[in-house]
Symmetry: D2
Subunit: 337 residues, 4 copies
């Protein structure tokens, strides 16, 4: 940590900061310049609240020098994490396509979609059984029945499946049915849930909160990893900005940033980011072109009748066409699938 003193800081203010740092078990190096004094504090304190130092008299600013996350950091784990679930590979040079309806609505609905997206190139089937809805008056999902149908459809079409877990108490149920547990954007900082997910041994798909910084997303991954579950797949799904023509703003630049900071795989969700079907293919192409390890896309055989998120669900033929475009782009970024 580096503590920069104000240009006019007095000697007793500097001494007070030094003794505080020593109280906190830091070693202190002092540089006295013509205009300003800078204190280097050496010691490993990842959980420290630097705010207290910032408010000491005479302090201009405090700068953390170690990253707040460690297990998720590429510094200590330079190779890409590659997650294998049966015949599906996530991370490294592979692209993974996850697709399916927003909600599992019925046994034949999910099975039909599974077949369509599998044929087009998806290997992971998505489908919600417990739905976080902004309105208490909206459809809330089929619950365990939904999970049963999802599992059956995945098995039938030789796919892996993923579904959202909304709270800790649902973890045992989800673990029984699905291969990957998804944490929704609104739960990215539900620390109780993250901690419990650290105890299981199935991959977690962690969606970025719509107001979360990239560093906070990596800290959320760190929560899961700190419990011993290292198989975390990150997912950029749009951040909230002043622009509201699209529902959220898909932060494509987060993809290369995460690739540099972390070894974890990162995919993109163009469906939730844009909220509009016609914007999904361009944003899907952009994410892959920027280096994402895959996509999670909503597809529905009859979007106008979908019980949730119909407006952002692709028609199966649109999904198939998109897969064709992505096969070309994959070559430009040396990815295969």
């Amino acid at each position: 940590m580096v503590v920069v003193m104000e240009e006019m800081a007095k000697e007793d203010q500097i001494q007070h900061v030094i003794s505080k740092l020593i109280d906190m078990s830091f070693d202190v190096h002092r540089s006295t310049g013509v205009n300003q004094t800078v204190l280097g504090a050496i010691g490993d304190k990842r959980g420290l609240d630097t705010g207290i130092l910032e408010l000491l008299p005479g302090v201009h600013k405090v700068v953390r020098i170690t990253e707040a996350f460690k297990l998720a950091s590429r510094t200590f784990h330079p190779q890409d994490t590659v997650i294998k679930i049966r015949n599906v590979t996530i991370g490294g040079d592979d692209l993974v396509m996850m697709a399916g309806p927003c909600s599992v609505e019925a046994q034949n609905q999910i099975s039909e979609i599974a077949q369509m997206v599998r044929t087009a190139g998806a290997t992971v089937l998505r489908g919600g059984a417990f739905k976080p809805r902004t309105s208490p008056y909206s459809f809330q999902g089929l619950g365990e029945d939904g999970l049963t149908y999802l599992r059956e459809a995945a098995n039938k079409h030789d796919m892996v499946c993923v579904s959202e877990v909304m709270e800790s108490s649902q973890i045992p149920l989800l673990t029984e049915y699905v291969d990957v547990l998804q944490v929704g954007a609104r739960n990215m900082q539900n620390f109780s849930l993250l901690r419990e997910l650290g105890k299981i041994r199935k991959p977690v798909l962690l969606k970025r909160g719509m107001a979360a910084t990239i560093e906070e997303m990596l800290m959320a991954a760190e929560y899961i990893m700190a419990g011993g579950n290292y198989d975390v797949i990150l997912c950029e799904r749009g951040i909230r900005t002043f622009e509201n023509y699209t529902r959220n703003t898909l932060d494509i630049s987060a993809i290369p940033v995460v690739k540099k900071l972390s070894h974890l795989p990162i995919i993109a969700d163009p469906s939730h980011a844009t909220g509009r079907r016609d914007k999904v293919p361009p944003m899907a192409r952009a994410a892959i072109a920027a280096g994402a390890d895959g996509l999670i896309v909503e597809v529905h055989q009859d979007p106008e009748k979908a019980l949730s998120d119909g407006a952002q669900s692709l028609y199966p033929e649109q999904f198939e066409h998109l897969m064709g475009e992505l096969r070309i782009i994959a070559k430009a970024v040396s990815k295969k699938w």
Copy 2:
């Protein structure tokens, strides 16, 4: 709902939209202008996803005309909700001052602070026992011991107390110890938790998520109220913006906006919004001047040694001085306490 067609929309597109609306059980009124056709859809569908209509060919935009929330709306409940907990009144013409440390750290710590803030004018004691921390390596709270100390301190100093609930499974425990259950900003859209809080009969202090719109905050209140628990206290605690000199940007204008849209009381949290002690008093004064029903403020007898959030905790004498300033401002807004 109003569906505005594009200026160039064709007749068959208009007919398709009309038949869709009728399928959805709306009555439809059509206005054909020189340039554009507008369709009025009459019917009460609060949970409807309007996105599907927006993507139909020829549609320019779709405008909801009913508010998405109902129980929280002032339209159907013009008088202010006033919540009474023993000798404390929240809402209406009364101001309520909630104060205390970020975390309960020890029995004597919380008791000492209780005495100080009670003397200065606070009637509700705050203190966290379960702490949502960005880093898994930071102090996570004392748990049930913390609640015990909090309750004792509140009783001893004739105060009401509030503490944060992080997940549904903690509700019974919290209910046993505290008078008001707080939902933190990161959990504002934890719908499972909100639904469970709708089933209890204790007031809930609902903090605005840092990326939540005012309407989403009211929808979150609606979740709790839909379960039959009408005692919801809203709390503005800062939103995330591009400005990062302060931790978040306290959206003071949300206070008069909420006052117009809803009958629920709204207080402000200047401590978490700014993250810096020296900015707390000006923002506290601003919130009261804008019409807030009260404040929740962090106070600590020795902030430099606090186990969490020390940088934003006021010294007791600062809190006392602030209370004096607020007594003047209260007159300007016709509030008493």
Copy 3:
């Protein structure tokens, strides 16, 4: 325009709004529903301030039904605008690559870079002569000398050139030297400048302000077009959000949105958006994959010594490599160059 009355609006409030609308020369259609009244106001008033109506007693909300822009709208001009400048085509099925240093620094510097980027595939040479700098103490550009060197370099290497105009008084000078005049992000709503640019007959490259909505960008284009200059090239260059790992957030989704709303070409500037060289190639690829009509990229033969923006300038060999990747992606989006 549609005026939605509150659910509890009284008849005299409704009558007051109707008479206001008639005063404003609108024809009014009234729909009275069980819960709510909706008024349709027919008439073409693009410059109207709807705020006045919103504040009338009993009004719930006012919804514009016509777009605020007209000349820039695809509704009235369905075919893409294609701009031809000698052998360079911008818009339609063509991709255009604009490249060069942030600032023109010396005669041989700009000539060397021109040759390098021309060989790699760029046909438009960029280079600033008047620099808008956040600090008054930073390098402010070479002025007219810079323009002379830019023009010479463009001619020598058979390129078209673009440079930024900072205020109306510079228009004659710029017009003499360059083929395309650039309006910087900070000037996107400098309406005096826009109006003057409407009077010239050279293409204008209009960069999106970092806090401008897509609609505001189209309104800024409308200002130029309203003066009779229809050759406007839009440029997405990043918006300001809470995320500050990258300098701004390149809003890739603005590209397909603009393509739908407007017939004007849109390119992307990955250099200013990210502010970091290593993030330029992924964002450049993403923009083309999303359907952009081209790019404007900063390239410098010795970025570590550049007088401005060195951190975001590509090395010539990075630019060349990027062009190779883009030739693959171009096929996926049916573009050629």
Copy 4:
């Protein structure tokens, strides 16, 4: 400046950074810790682009230690700047109330309003003659006639007056008629204009851009001051955020932040921030409670007929009532007027 190396940085990377810093004429102090090396670079380089250093191999981050602004900084000028214009005092312990219509519309309109606001307590008359409008089809102001009427009204009612300057060429005209020249939010980073305003000797009212950080606002003030014009009045007028119930979000916390960083006076504009008349009084009260040195408020004798911004203009009786509330709040913050 402090350069923090990555935890895994190699010795030759560290040496390369050191030699770069020496090339840039910095003195370098090196601290080698167990995990990380930190380099302190001593020297005064306010205009330096630190980005180049950030991208050198092995660099983790670069931290500026000197503020980017100097003349505007309180560090070198601890006492408040107090500006006197005839009988009006801006800054220090005084509050200043600026009020008037958005646009000067006619001779008697501005004179009538002047009388009303003067009686209620305003001493500075505002009124636009050149209007920056988002739409080219909206009312653009009366030009020089407007300035004449504004000056006459101010003289008649013993007031000082302020009006907006939109470009450098208008400076001589504005200087002739008004006491304070206003720079609008959209021009806050129009550096050509700022530089020209540095050459005059009349106070400048500088509005914060809606996407400008506090530091950028102070840098814009620095541009004016660097030219020798030290009388800059800052104005917080709302920033753009995701919340769009109000037009912008008045960043009240910017007031105490500016008070700490700078000696310049800062006022608030609650009218443009909120865009809605009913939100102006609460936000005006909040700004004063937070420590602002005054307000600029739009008032119109018949807002429903105003040619611009009618929705946000107060009725004269509302303004008068607000002044009464502010006289109470002023006591709480030890201000007088």
